[in-house]
């Protein structure tokens, strides 16, 4: 039992938040906290012959390598078939090249290599972890490259994956937290591609055909739409060879087109869904910001104080520490290609839901009106910049962060300037950014629980 954050909930949040928290990881603070910290790992980048962007950090300490290939092929590219990106990505290792599903599984397991796939709204990410001993790496790499470029999409496996996706969708229905999140995204984003759940919907999963998957693969899982991130025990020529190998069989293709802008809600909206649970799950928010947003640092540091840093943040203090209303309470931005969500949330016993909701609203309104105190700002900066070294202490983390930076086209000096930009944020900047960007009179409120009326 983790005490502070519920790790299960937190994990879901942290996955999204990774993008928010991560950047701090690379920064070298100027203050004594990080004096003597050597953060200068070599972040190198180039482009493969067929157009994939590559980022690489050598990490010679352990005889292993982490590779992460990220495509602009998340659920925002689903089109009329919600879940298409996710099912397509999940199908790649069900058959590829000359190998069937079992053989692919054995090719990785035989050599202790780990293959993984995750799809979010913006991206589909494929990861591989392997030992770097030549023979082993060769087998891992060959299998990985074949999966990405030459999936065979066998029919039988497709039917099974679809059926099991339907089971996952059913599983979500028994979770008030997941129901709340789906409702929140649906009502916040309306017609925008961010509105639908990554996992898809029952109708669309049933309607999907193999041809849809093949077309999706052909269009989006292509070199010009990819970033390859490598962290491991190798030098630049080895990394170059590896990146070429991984991408060699991919079609060059084209980058995905720009996503439509997100339209802000023009009025407040509330959605209540009845559910036989002991707690009501509450989400309140609106459209937030994008990656590389001009207000990014003001909103990021501000949110840290509002509800982004766990204990010590205003939401946690008000909801949990002062009143004991909830185990977990938080706020976060999901910076994406275009404006992602800004969400405040908590779970509390049904009979306390309305009280907790008004407290959340109060905390937000006050924060927007007054901005942070000088002391809060100072603490936030110390925490963000001082925590830097912790965030680069594993290859697994580093590979995710460099892939993200390249994927969103953040400037290459982004890491070097990150702490300075955090330090440069003033209380007035935060107040100004929150006043311009967050509108407490136009919030979407979603509740799922027993205390609520039916939708």
């Amino acid at each position: 039992m983790m005490k502070r954050l519920n790790w299960k909930i937190a994990l879901a949040v942290i996955v999204i938040l990774a993008l928010t928290f991560t950047l701090a990881r690379f920064e070298r603070g100027d203050e004594p906290v990080s004096a003597g910290v050597d953060s200068s790992f070599e972040f190198q980048s180039w482009t493969t012959e067929n157009g994939a962007r590559v980022v690489f950090v050598p990490a010679p300490e352990l005889p292993m390598v982490d590779v992460r290939v990220v495509f602009d092929a998340g659920s925002a590219r689903d089109g009329d078939l919600p879940g298409l990106a996710n099912v397509t990505a999940g199908m790649l290792n069900e058959g590829a090249g000359q190998w069937d599903s079992d053989q692919l599984a054995e090719r990785f397991d035989d050599i202790g290599a780990n293959y993984g796939v995750s799809v979010k709204r913006d991206m589909a990410a494929f990861s591989l972890r392997s030992l770097t001993e030549e023979d082993l790496l060769e087998q891992a790499m060959q299998t990985f490259a074949t999966i990405l470029a030459e999936p065979t999409f066998p029919h039988e496996a497709f039917n099974r994956v679809r059926r099991n996706t339907l089971v996952s969708l059913q599983n979500k229905k028994q979770s008030p937290g997941e129901l709340a999140e789906d409702l929140f995204y649906r009502h916040l984003f309306g017609q925008h591609p961010y509105a639908t759940p990554v996992l898809g919907k029952e109708e669309s999963i049933k309607a999907m055909e193999l041809a849809d998957l093949k077309a999706f693969h052909q269009r989006y899982l292509v070199a010009n739409n990819a970033v390859v991130a490598i962290v491991g025990d190798m030098d630049r020529p080895q990394a170059e060879a590896l990146a070429e190998k991984i991408t060699a069989k991919l079609n060059a293709g084209e980058a995905a087109p720009a996503l439509p802008e997100v339209e802000a809600l023009d009025e407040a909206n509330r959605v209540d869904r009845s559910h036989p649970s002991a707690q009501t799950h509450l989400l309140v928010g609106q459209a937030g910001m994008r990656r590389g947003d001009r207000d990014y640092f003001s909103l990021y540091v501000g949110n840290h104080i509002l509800g982004g840093s766990g204990f010590g943040s205003r939401i946690m203090e008000t909801i949990r520490e002062e009143r004991g209303l909830a185990y977990s309470s938080y706020s976060y931005f999901v910076p994406q290609r275009v404006n992602g969500a800004f969400i405040m949330g908590l779970q509390t016993s049904n009979d306390q839901a309305e009280q907790a909701l008004s407290l959340l609203q109060e905390v937000l309104t006050r924060f927007i009106d007054e901005g942070p105190t000088a002391e809060e700002l100072q603490h936030a900066k110390k925490n963000i910049t001082g925590g830097f070294p912790l965030r680069i202490d594993s290859n697994k983390d580093i590979v995710q962060y460099i892939a993200m930076i390249e994927f969103y086209g953040l400037p290459h000096d982004y890491l070097d300037t990150f702490n300075d930009r955090v330090e440069a944020v003033t209380a007035a900047d935060i107040r100004d950014a929150f006043q311009r960007r967050i509108h407490p009179d136009k919030l979407l409120t979603v509740t799922v629980g027993n205390g609520s009326r039916s939708e």
């Binding site: 039992m1 035989d110 202790g112 293959y115 089971v167 599983n171 649970s277 002991a278 520490e321």
Partner: protein
């Protein structure tokens, strides 16, 4: 096989950045384990107390976990919330966790900040104030946590009832978070007693991994923890589970969408087993069933027969007391619990009747060897492994021999443990039988909260 040989060879060379474990004992009985890892200028510090839910008895279940929460509510020197504030201001992360066999606290910091963590942990090891008003709020928070984790999660509820049925006497029958009714009736006096009885230097292990110099860590530990008094820690009663005589079946009816199946067999663990190899054979057997996508349950039940949407096997080698060898799963669409159960039991029979193939076994061993390298990517995990082993009384050295012991397991040994332990009369089965979810219950009726 050649690949396996390469793999086996690989593990033999010393990883340059990682040092040996250094063990120290303070005069008051506290143990310190330090391991150098100079890859990043950070340090993780963890305190492990030999206390957890399996030390509790009826009426006070959940006390270890609630006390863990209260450890952040202040000492005479540092008021409520101060601990977290100081760590945050130093750019650190901190948290804590409670399990059946231990309660642990950790900080991750830039390396020069280790003294801050030691000062704060040493202070709260003996000087907690446990204010009544903070306790009442925190008890509320824990009850909300229980609702979130268990009451509103059908699978977690089924698992809780499964455990309580599989164990009649063993303290493993209690949920770590505690029964709701016990939480409601917990008092601050219960916590005080628990705290004074168990939070002592001689009942704790301090584990430090990171960019540090072991002797310097030792000096620092002596300075901060060395002056804390030793406490008489009471011996605990064994509460050993009597042999099971016949299968137990429990049906859990809860509002849910999906059925869920749990099967468990009483088995020894490394700490309790008479012949050590049996525990390692059980570990490999769990791997054969569900380690990796090529393992039997995903390959045969999810992909092959397509009876399961998901299926898992699990075994906790490092428990303090006898535990369960577990199987669990959700049926695929168009299949029911009975078919899934039948399929899982056939896999068990196969383990008894046919020796595991060499290629399968080699695959598991390859994963273990590679896993050994991968695990070193995380300083936190390294510290955690040492902490668990030391706390359950196996000693950190156990992790050093893990690979060797796994490699020694033979197909015949797996067959032997399968026959010896995976018997029907030693089996507990729990089925989650879903009740309708969609608003059928009249408002205010006891649904998931009916404890």
């Amino acid at each position: 096989m050649r690949r396996l040989l390469i793999l086996l060879g690989l593990g033999l060379f010393c990883l340059p950045a990682l040092g040996q474990v250094h063990e120290y004992n303070l005069d008051n009985g506290m143990k310190l384990l330090v391991r150098e890892d100079h890859r990043a200028p950070v340090v993780v510090s963890q305190i492990w107390y030999k206390i957890g839910a399996s030390y509790e008895h009826n009426g006070i279940t959940g006390v270890s976990h609630v006390l863990e929460h209260m450890m952040f509510k202040g000492t005479e020197k540092h008021g409520p919330g101060e601990f977290s504030r100081i760590i945050a201001e130093n750019g650190g992360r901190e948290n804590a966790f409670t399990s059946k066999d231990f309660t642990a606290y950790f900080q991750q910091l830039e390396k020069s900040r280790l003294a801050i963590s030691f000062e704060l942990e040493a202070d709260r090891m003996r000087n907690l104030t446990l204010p009544e008003d903070e306790f009442k709020k925190e008890r509320q928070v824990v009850m909300e946590e229980r609702k979130l984790r268990t009451e509103d999660n059908p699978r977690a509820l089924a698992y809780e009832k499964f455990n309580a049925a599989a164990f009649m006497v063993s303290p493993y029958r209690h949920p770590t978070i505690g029964w709701m009714n016990d939480l409601k009736n917990l008092t601050v006096e219960d916590l005080q007693q628990w705290y004074h009885q168990w939070y002592a230097p001689n009942n704790a292990t301090l584990v430090v991994v990171g960019d540090v110099e072991p002797d310097a860590v030792y000096r620092l530990a002596r300075e901060h923890f060395g002056r804390l008094p030793r406490v008489d820690v009471p011996p605990i009663k064994p509460r050993v589970e009597p042999p099971q005589k016949g299968e137990r079946r429990v049906v859990v009816q809860e509002p849910a969408e999906l059925p869920y199946l749990l099967i468990g067999y009483h088995v020894p663990v490394l700490k309790t087993v008479e012949q050590e190899w049996e525990a390692y054979a059980l570990e490999v057997m769990a791997g054969i069933l569900s380690s990796g996508r090529s393992a039997r349950l995903p390959a045969r039940l999810v992909r092959g027969q397509q009876i399961a949407a998901g299926a898992d096997a699990g075994y906790d080698l490092y428990s303090r007391q006898d535990n369960l060898f577990m199987l669990s799963g959700t049926p695929a669409r168009g299949h029911d619990i009975a078919e899934l159960e039948q399929a899982l039991l056939e896999e068990i029979e196969a383990l008894k009747n046919e020796p595991v193939g060499q290629a399968e076994l080699a695959r598991i061993k390859a994963q273990v060897v590679a896993g050994d390298v991968y695990e070193k990517d995380s300083v936190f995990y390294q510290a955690m492994q040492m902490g668990i082993l030391e706390t359950v009384g196996l000693g950190w050295q156990t992790m050093e021999v893990y690979r060797e012991k796994i490699n020694a397991v033979t197909p015949q040994q797996i067959q032997q443990v399968a026959r010896k332990y995976l018997r029907q009369d030693n089996r507990s089965v729990t089925i989650l039988d879903p009740l309708p979810l969609d608003g059928q219950q009249p408002a205010g009726s006891p649904t998931a909260t009916g404890h």
